[in-house]
Subunit: 381 residues, 2 copies
């Protein structure tokens, strides 16, 4: 407990944009979020007081950090599972716990568990040789290969066009699983939060639009999704949260095949597909994550508008006007759009921020969010 | 400019709850707010990175602080006017400027200026002796005496019951003005923001409910206020902002006599009567204040719900359960209420936080906000 506030100290490993927005949500709750940053220039480290710079793969660093926290949670899933288990053995409160988090860290563990629970996933296989991939393909290429650990934003995913590609990838030594390439209509995301007490709150199901494996737009609620399928998707996420004993926010990324919903990925932290909740829901995913890991009763997730569209602001080619000038132009163009900048230096394709538009119709919200993201992007004039 | 973000550095003198909530609003804009705190334990200093602890009445401290900022603004109006003028002369950007701010710092300057502009104010007089008060009263007591400088939250205001009280107060040496005690139906607040460019944005007119001179509730929109009077109040605030060359948020506290609207006080900073805008308006007063002092186009002030009620959480008698336990109970009681804690230690009557309820009807919003504030107050079990 922080003697200055009488409230728990929540520690977050990682100080990227998720930690930055979680800190923003922590302020009204009276909390002082403590961060373990990789660098003093991390987006969240620029705006939070209580920042330790250190290596999250070093147990001593993690242990010292955890000692000063009532609960430790995460901005990413890259802390090695063995260190998490060691922290737990030493009596630290780690949420989500290592056993749950393993399913977001290791795609094979995740696929095995979901398959055992009879939860629909793409057809997949463990890969122990290039031959395993080739046999799995059975002449039907492309096959999707995924790194078991460490992939994100499209990294760690390969579409293999044939045997040669399979052999080349296998030769890199990366640990893999292989999956069928699912023919999909679109991608959806089911976002829920769960507390240690077992309470679960679900947000509306959203559509996520990807480009080059990176989420570029999120539409809430998912256009044209009927109530029966939306409720089924919420129930699926709630079931996964409960079965895996997740605490905090769980994002279940779904493939919509038109007839079925298949689970693609799991993330156990605030998620890009939930950024719209900052303005679009009575309780944001960041506030809810904090309420969940503190075992407070969860907040109401009611949408605040008929249509909410979020678009990511990605780094583009260098040049053009500076961010300050681009903000001026954007606010003149659309004084109702909400901007979130992450304090990150620009790199092509890097997520530098996002914008959210709420409106009466999705067409209008989406058009405004896209225009705003374009206006804010590097290289725009 | 902050080389890490490419954006301006906004400095705020004072690190209380207004700075705390402004910092929260600065994060999505990509800014790093710089604070001049009186103490490292100030509410905003607990959650912001870039905090200088120093004396805001010492020119050297102010000057060093201003040198590291692109613009300096305020969480309170207590910086002496002569120091502000000196900062301006030295080339620092101070917003609102010293000339505007004088009207929020000195009640005599404010009354003189508003009177000269023919803006309705209570009947008032300059006081240069106890006799001035007595002559102003002309046998009709009580008379309201106000300290020319330094009063807030009911401090610096006296209801004088007769000649003896007038003489006793005068004998303290406090510089005073005297005013009629206006018979009012209620108090209102007109909140606007103005940029250096001259753009002004107004929020809906709200009703403020005071107890012992402290604002305890704010209702938006003000119940039963017809459109004509509401618009007139907005125009009044816009005119004052323009005439006084205010930059940033301006709160015009109004007496509603049933027939007239008289200006009571001015504040040139985010204001207690605008805390509801965090959830209740598309653009909060804190974001708008930042946009204004940075001369960005202002945000849309549209209300997000039919009724918004805010209630302050005041320190009560010691004892009862701790804040952590009270938060648990509150969230269980009302999972839709939004909580804002300021990170301040408890003292009877001190504003420790506020709660906001948005709802379909004002009766319901108000009832929920009151119940939540009661639940969170010290001494509640």
């Amino acid at each position: 407990m922080d003697p200055r506030t009488g409230l728990s100290v929540v520690g977050m490993v990682g100080a990227g944009q998720l930690a930055r927005m979680t800190h923003q949500a922590a302020i009204p709750l009276g909390l002082s979020l403590r961060l373990l940053a990789a660098s003093a220039d991390d987006g969240a480290a620029l705006v939070a007081t209580d920042v330790v710079v250190g290596d999250f793969t070093a147990y001593d660093t993690l242990s010292r950090f955890a000692q000063a926290c009532d609960v430790v949670t995460f901005d990413h899933e890259h802390v090695p599972g063995e260190l998490l288990r060691k922290l737990e053995s030493a009596g630290h409160r780690v949420l989500p716990g290592s056993a749950a988090l393993a399913h977001a860290q290791d795609k094979r563990v995740m696929r095995e568990r979901l398959s055992a629970l009879d939860i629909p996933v793409p057809r997949w296989t463990v890969v122990n040789s290039a031959t395993d991939i080739i046999e799995f393909a059975d002449g039907h290429w492309p096959v999707v290969a995924k790194a078991v650990r460490g992939g994100y934003d499209g990294r760690g995913v390969w579409f293999l066009s044939g045997e040669r590609a399979a052999r080349e990838l296998w030769a890199t030594g990366i640990e893999l699983i292989a999956e069928e390439r699912v023919s999909i209509v679109r991608e959806l995301s089911a976002l829920v939060a769960r507390s240690p007490y077992g309470q679960v709150a679900a947000w509306p199901i959203v559509e996520t639009v990807q480009r080059d494996g990176i989420c570029v737009e999120v539409l809430s609620p998912a256009p044209g999704l009927d109530d029966v399928r939306a409720t089924a998707a919420q129930h699926l996420a709630i079931r996964i949260a409960a079965e895996l004993d997740v605490v905090g926010v769980l994002a279940v990324e779904l493939f919509d095949t038109g007839s079925d919903l298949l689970v693609n990925e799991l993330a156990m932290r605030p998620h890009n597909s939930g950024h719209w909740t900052i303005e679009g829901s009575l309780t944001s995913q960041f506030e809810q994550h904090l309420r969940a890991v503190l075992d407070y009763p969860l907040g109401v997730t009611m949408a605040t508008a008929p249509a909410v569209a979020m678009a990511n602001v990605l780094g583009g080619p260098a040049g053009g006007s500076g961010i300050d000038e681009r903000l001026h132009h954007l606010f003149a163009m659309d004084p109702a759009v909400k901007v979130h900048l992450y304090g990150k230096s620009a790199r092509p394709g890097r997520k530098l921020g996002h914008v959210t538009a709420i409106d009466d119709t999705m067409d209008r919200a989406r058009e405004r969010a896209r225009a705003a993201a374009r206006q804010l992007s590097e290289g725009a004039t």
